[in-house]
């Protein structure tokens, strides 16, 4: 699979990941990898943030949209 965003710019770069939001294949230059907090607990127990997080990869376009 090739990077969709590179292809739009006329480049031919191999994709290294898939955006979890839009499903686009993306190269290292066009991905954002960030850690997502995990919470455990709900009524009748207080919710607590877990020490471990899970990584999430999105493309730069979806990342920008979610930041708004």
């Amino acid at each position: 699979m090739k990077c969709y965003l590179c292809k739009e710019q006329g480049k031919d770069t191999d994709a290294v990941a898939i955006c979890i939001v839009c499903g686009m294949g993306i190269c290292m230059e066009h991905l954002v990898r960030e850690e997502t907090e995990l919470w455990k607990g709900d009524y009748p127990f207080p919710a607590k943030k877990l020490k471990r997080t899970i990584p999430r990869i999105v493309c730069v376009i979806c990342h920008e949209a979610m930041e708004e």
Partner: protein, 246 residues
């Protein structure tokens, strides 16, 4: 602010909401029915104008207040807003021992503040006529009968909490609605027997308010609303654990 203080404060706010709106609705019903002719001795005013519909209205006020509190602070403190629930979760080793007292104190303070705030908002008739929605055995109901009603009522409440919220197999996100409606349903049936407290804090607030603001002194009935709910809740928690064991 430590985590426990923050969570205790959430319990205080949740219990304040419960006592302001729940017993507040009972007090308002008595104030509206004041002077109305009562069909029999069993009727103290709640039911004088709307029959069992009065209890439905009071039950729904409790249901809405509990549902709102659970969705508002459920993730912060667990929203027990009831010492009997806290003790039942502790007894079944689901709640830490060192947090039981802070939670119960917060619930009692929240309940007292809820009653005082209601008296401030509705005026002294809420104390002298409405009794701030305090619970007591109704005419013809003995001490033991009222306690039995509280045990059975709180048993059902805690049994539902175990099934809809504590059990990890329960459907998510429905707990607030179902538990609120369960309390409303219990109130409709046993409201005119024991007052349907199901919660020592819910009775403590109006009792303290009435006592300090010149209303009726009902403290001799307080053991009904401490022992009954705690026994009912603990029994339900242990029975559910036994029944749900894999």
């Amino acid at each position: 602010m430590t985590d426990l203080v923050r969570r205790s404060l959430a319990e205080l706010v949740g219990t304040f909401i419960l006592v302001f709106f729940g017993p507040g609705a009972a007090a308002i019903t008595l104030m509206i029915a004041s002077g109305a002719s009562k069909p029999n001795e069993f009727n103290i005013g709640i039911g004088a104008l709307g029959g069992l519909g009065d209890w439905l209205a009071i039950g729904l006020a409790f249901a809405f207040a509990i549902t709102a509190s659970i969705y508002a602070v459920g993730k912060i403190s667990g929203c027990h807003i009831n010492p009997a629930v806290t003790i039942a979760l502790w007894a079944t080793k689901r709640f830490p021992t060192n947090e039981v007292l802070p939670y119960i104190l917060a619930q009692l303070v929240g309940a007292a503040l809820g009653s005082f705030a209601f008296a401030a908002a509705a005026g002294m008739d809420a104390v002298t006529i409405g009794g701030l929605g305090a619970t007591a055995p109704f005419p013809g109901i003995s001490y033991g009968q009222a306690m039995l009603a509280e045990i059975i009522g709180t048993f059902l409440l805690m049994f539902v909490i175990m099934g809809i919220a504590v059990d990890s197999r329960a459907p998510q996100q429905f707990a607030g609605l179902i538990i609120g409606l369960t309390v409303g349903g219990i109130i409709i049936t046993i409201g005119n027997i024991s007052g349907s407290s199901l919660n020592p804090a819910r009775t403590f607030g109006p009792y303290l308010g009435d006592f300090l603001l010149g209303g009726i002194n009902l403290w001799n009935f307080f053991p009904i609303y401490v022992i009954g709910p705690i026994v009912g809740a603990v029994l339900a928690a242990f029975l559910y654990d036994y029944l749900a064991k894999e």
